[in-house]
């Protein structure tokens, strides 16, 4: 892509406060086109100047990669670094990522920022499953990827229970490192057709199916220890 750099100054020194003359000319050209006054070679030239062709998949991937909605979800100390990337210094709003969503239904990126305990893993997996496809996940920090200094009975690496697209190393990673991971994920999304994670990682057919009777509610699920309608455990 060609980058054009210019010294900023008044747009038109001789006509301060007004748009440049060629902009006005294009505006008038567009008006003529909409009126149907443009014909022949002039119309051809106008269309050539105004239209860019691409595939739908590429356009969709481009827009998805530039408007990811991360999930508001912090696990440990890495979350502090994650919070700072929305601040003024790092400012992921430059890439269209700044809208952290409080509901997994509205988010399409899960940043696992911190250590994942055995007790937390099913919760995280549930949040990931609640998100809509296409969805992505970033494993941030040493604990989440390899358990780091907490490599013991209590923790589980995030690869074991959900698909991770980008691992960001560090303890904790600096915000710049997380930014780099996010940009790597963006280029990954741009180069990819907008598939779900099972297509991406060749895992079609590995869906967990509930036993008969559990899906339609005629059999009580083992995990649901309270009868329906009982709010005592809530």
């Amino acid at each position: 892509m060609e980058v054009k750099r210019e010294v900023l100054g008044p747009a038109h020194p001789e006509q301060p406060g007004q748009a440049p003359a060629d902009f006005r000319a294009r505006q008038l050209l567009a008006r003529d086109m909409l009126r149907g006054d443009l014909e022949g070679e002039a119309l051809e030239r106008f269309v050539e100047q105004s239209i860019m062709t691409t595939t739908l998949e590429k356009a969709v991937s481009w827009s998805q990669g530039n408007s990811l909605y991360p999930m508001t979800f912090g696990l440990a100390c890495c979350a502090i670094e994650m919070m700072s990337i929305v601040g003024a210094r790092m400012d992921i709003a430059r890439f269209g990522w700044e809208a952290f969503r409080a509901s997994p239904r509205q988010a399409d990126l899960l940043i696992l920022s911190g250590r994942v305990s055995v007790k937390m893993a099913p919760v995280i997996r549930r949040i990931y499953d609640q998100m809509l496809e296409p969805r992505w996940a970033i494993s941030m920090g040493a604990c989440c990827s390899s358990m780091g200094v907490f490599n013991n009975y209590a923790l589980v690496p995030s690869d074991k229970f959900m698909p991770i697209d980008v691992h960001v190393p560090g303890c904790p990673p600096r915000p710049e490192a997380l930014m780099h991971g996010i940009l790597r994920l963006r280029s990954k999304i741009h180069g990819h057709s907008p598939d779900g994670w099972r297509e991406r990682y060749d895992a079609v057919g590995t869906e967990e199916v509930l036993p008969a009777g559990e899906a339609d509610g005629t059999r009580e699920a083992a995990i649901n220890i309270f009868p329906g309608g009982d709010t005592a455990g809530a």
Binding site: Y153, L155, P157, Y201
Partner: protein, 169 residues
């Protein structure tokens, strides 16, 4: 802290009440420790409570492997008027670690006792709700015991990713 003499006096007072309740005393680095018999722990705590130690600052477990009896439960008591602390320690074996609960005297002992049960497997008789508090409900074993393996999952790096489940692109 009671000094060494004060600790002996307290121990004598408790022995007058019930001779076999106090097994010994220990005074090290300015800390007074009463070694109590597990069966009489409720009486000892109640007597100390009557002497002014009304606040249970901490209740925690220890594994003294390879010493026997292996497990210990420590009660850190605080007298908030005299600003005086005393430690009551009991030791139980690993085979059938049973201790009477202190929740009758100190309601705040409920969660610490659940934690000691979770991490060391000490069963507190009479506890209102003895469940695991930190580890998952279906966790097997007591992870803070010294003979419990440290564990941890093998970590996948680039050099061993071929041994992984599934396919990685």
């Amino acid at each position: 802290m009671p000094d060494a003499t004060g600790l002996e006096l307290t121990a004598h007072e408790l022995r007058d009440h019930s001779a076999e309740s106090i097994l010994g005393t220990d005074f090290q680095r300015g800390r007074a420790v009463l070694l109590a018999a597990p069966d009489h722990i409720t009486d000892v705590l109640a007597a100390l409570m009557g002497k002014g130690y009304t606040f249970l600052a901490s209740l925690h477990g220890v594994d003294y492997y390879p010493e026997e009896p292996r497990l210990g439960v420590l009660y850190e008591l605080l007298d908030m008027h005299e600003v005086d602390r005393i430690t009551v320690k009991i030791r139980v074996g690993i085979d059938d670690p049973r201790v009477p609960t202190a929740t009758g005297l100190f309601p705040g002992a409920e969660f610490p006792e659940r934690e000691v049960y979770d991490m060391f497997g000490v069963v507190f008789d009479g506890h209102p709700d003895l469940r695991r508090i930190l580890m998952p409900e279906d966790f097997e074993g007591f992870p803070q015991r010294r003979d419990f393996p440290v564990g941890g999952e093998p970590v996948l790096f680039t050099f061993n990713e071929e041994q992984s489940y599934g396919k990685w692109q």
